[in-house]
Symmetry: C2
């Protein structure tokens, strides 16, 4: 993948890509640990920003809220997409200006809206009249962007209908925002998590662009197009290089939207996933019966201690062991808890070395996003995923 990263990063990227791996190789760990490199995050920020051009990055804090990563991104000039009061406080605590933070959750506690307003946050997401009413009451006069439901079968993890309003509801919602004293500032959408090719954005942009133009024609002076996240990470399947990907998305937006005053992008996975790896341990290798073709491999990390995104086998991580290169066989992979749902990959078993034994280290690649903060506080007594930020 690095071969297609243009310019100065072509040389630097392999070094950055290896910082976490090098640390893991040089150290011992007595529990599952995410090791993540700030330098690699900073380099990814530069790469994405180079491709995005005029668009401003608002990092999706939920992907990895490690304070050191937030501070690094504050220094780079990033904005922040916050899901809660706590994420706003985190960003402010790491030096972010309130003006760089958007409150992007369409489901906000009233008292959290009031807190954000008092802290100086002026940009809020909404997808319903009731949410607009809450914002109008607790953050009077705020700028709001309305999130739209989109259909996208091309994302690796298409989103549900949980967020966004239907296209037919948009005009009334924009009018309602005006009626309750808010500033309808823009539109937002999400192409779906892990959208591997920029071209996959086109059907979604085709849905949003006419709504954008219609809203402006109806007299709403929209300033902001929030294109959300969806920027992919490398999990084994080919993805487009990040700078070229971002530039292609921006080109597709220009072609459909023309001159948009402000564009905001919210990469989370695309910013941090490749910057970190989880080092874990094989707890057990067994067969359920002697004639079973596949083995069961149990790790000391599972769905409830960091690998939540293996739900439905959606995100398929890559594994590195000291036996790599030797003969392999199919394995069902599972976590360490006494929970029958704590299985990572069963429908599509994973090929792992036949020499793998309990006690062996296993490194899970590109786990910087949506791992540590998902882990349970202590399911089965296991502590949350440990995090080391380099």
């Amino acid at each position: 993948m690095n071969a297609t990263i243009p310019g100065a990063l072509r040389a630097a990227a392999p070094v950055f890509a290896d910082a976490a791996a090098a640390f893991i190789a040089a150290n011992g760990f007595d529990k599952p640990t995410l090791v993540i490199s700030r330098d690699r995050v900073a380099a990814q920020y530069d790469t994405l920003q180079a491709g995005l051009g005029q668009a401003h990055i608002h990092y999706a804090v939920k992907a990895n809220p490690a304070p050191e990563i937030i501070r690094t991104l504050v220094k780079k000039g990033s904005g922040f997409d916050a899901a809660s009061r706590q994420e706003i406080e985190l960003c402010l605590g790491q030096g972010a200006k309130a003006s760089s933070i958007s409150f992007g959750n369409t489901i906000k506690r009233a008292s959290d809206i009031a807190f954000a307003h008092s802290a100086g946050v002026t940009l809020f997401a909404a997808d319903s009249e009731a949410e607009l009413d809450k914002i109008a009451k607790h953050a009077p006069g705020a700028r709001v962007y309305v999130r739209l439901i989109v259909e996208n079968a091309l994302a690796d993890w298409p989103l549900s209908r949980k967020f966004g309003c239907s296209a037919s509801s948009l005009p009334a919602l924009l009018d309602h925002a005006v009626a309750v004293g808010l500033q309808p500032y823009g539109l937002s959408f999400h192409v779906g998590s892990q959208t591997r090719e920029a071209a996959f954005w086109n059907p979604v942009l085709d849905q949003i662009a006419p709504l954008w133009h219609a809203a402006r024609a109806a007299g709403h002076d929209l300033q902001l197009l929030n294109i959300g996240g969806g920027f992919p990470a490398f999990y084994g399947q080919t993805i487009q290089a990040p700078r070229a990907y971002a530039a292609a998305v921006m080109g597709a937006i220009r072609a459909r939207f023309g001159d948009v005053p402000q564009i905001m992008a919210e990469p989370g996975r695309g910013m941090v996933a490749e910057a970190g790896h989880i080092v874990a341990e094989v707890m057990l290798v067994s067969r359920k019966s002697e004639d079973d073709l596949h083995r069961w491999v149990y790790l000391d990390v599972g769905r409830f201690s960091g690998l939540a995104e293996t739900e439905g086998e959606a995100i398929r991580y890559q594994f590195i062991t000291r036996h790599d290169g030797g003969e392999t066989g199919p394995c069902v992979l599972a976590g360490p808890s006494c929970d029958s749902a704590d299985i990572l990959y069963e429908k599509r078993p994973v090929q792992l070395p036949l020499a793998l034994r309990d006690g062996d280290r296993i490194v899970i690649r590109n786990c910087g996003a949506y791992t540590s903060s998902y882990s349970s506080i202590g399911f089965n007594g296991f502590p949350p995923l440990d995090v080391v930020v380099l």
Copy 2:
């Protein structure tokens, strides 16, 4: 359900059942909170033990590891089924004797086996040669019970094949235990979570009994039948009353196994689920478009903050609001996070009052099991589920 609880508990149960609800009614909460009653847990212990007769209860700590609950059960004379070193330490710290603790996870870290051994735990689960080898090395001479895979289509939540060996592997595993110096002490199985009627155990007992008799005939002096969990809680669908249920299971065991020296039962859900309720708040009520028949109702608690068992809509909780009795309509129910998978019930929508609004309190019944310890440490910045133990 209480109407079928026999004897002295018939009068007492309604009071116990209401302790958490009464506390919730009398107090304000600024975040989602599980309120759970120790008296209700103690009463349930008595009820289950009365039905189980000679069988000894080993509470499945993972269901709810609140220290106060463990201490209550220590005082009642309960044993404990621990999934990890941390759960063993928890039980010891609350006064449990090492001899009352079984290390029931079939996937154990070698150093945790050594810890348990040094702490005086002598009873371990296994379902593979490799695990037996680990136990033999780190807890030499220990008593082991071998877990078997069973098929049971009658549980509300049938278990995967993650735990247990096939029947055909059992003889070799028992022989291997002897060969490595362990004491093959018994067999274990699990009927599946939330097995609502005692009669549903019969097909599983029919699978295990011949294996038990064959192992004894082969010269293994098995002492222990560990019947695991599966004891149900009330989530709206009829369940058999706990004492009658337990007594019926014991009768079915006697009929198939004859005189078993030791029987162990591991209720988790069946011990604590009904002792606690979650008090939560409605964050938003909306429709995706004007002509949608159903509403979306978003709570401040979701799959990543305590309601993990709504995955696949497996456990369907009951909800209490101040509008109950008024007209209702179908709702998709979702959590507060910016995660599209954080939806509780969508395939089978929930009927909730039309008068429901953001800011309304909502009480989720019988949430004492598998909630608090599952919750994430801070996904989206939301704190873990708060717990109040009465």
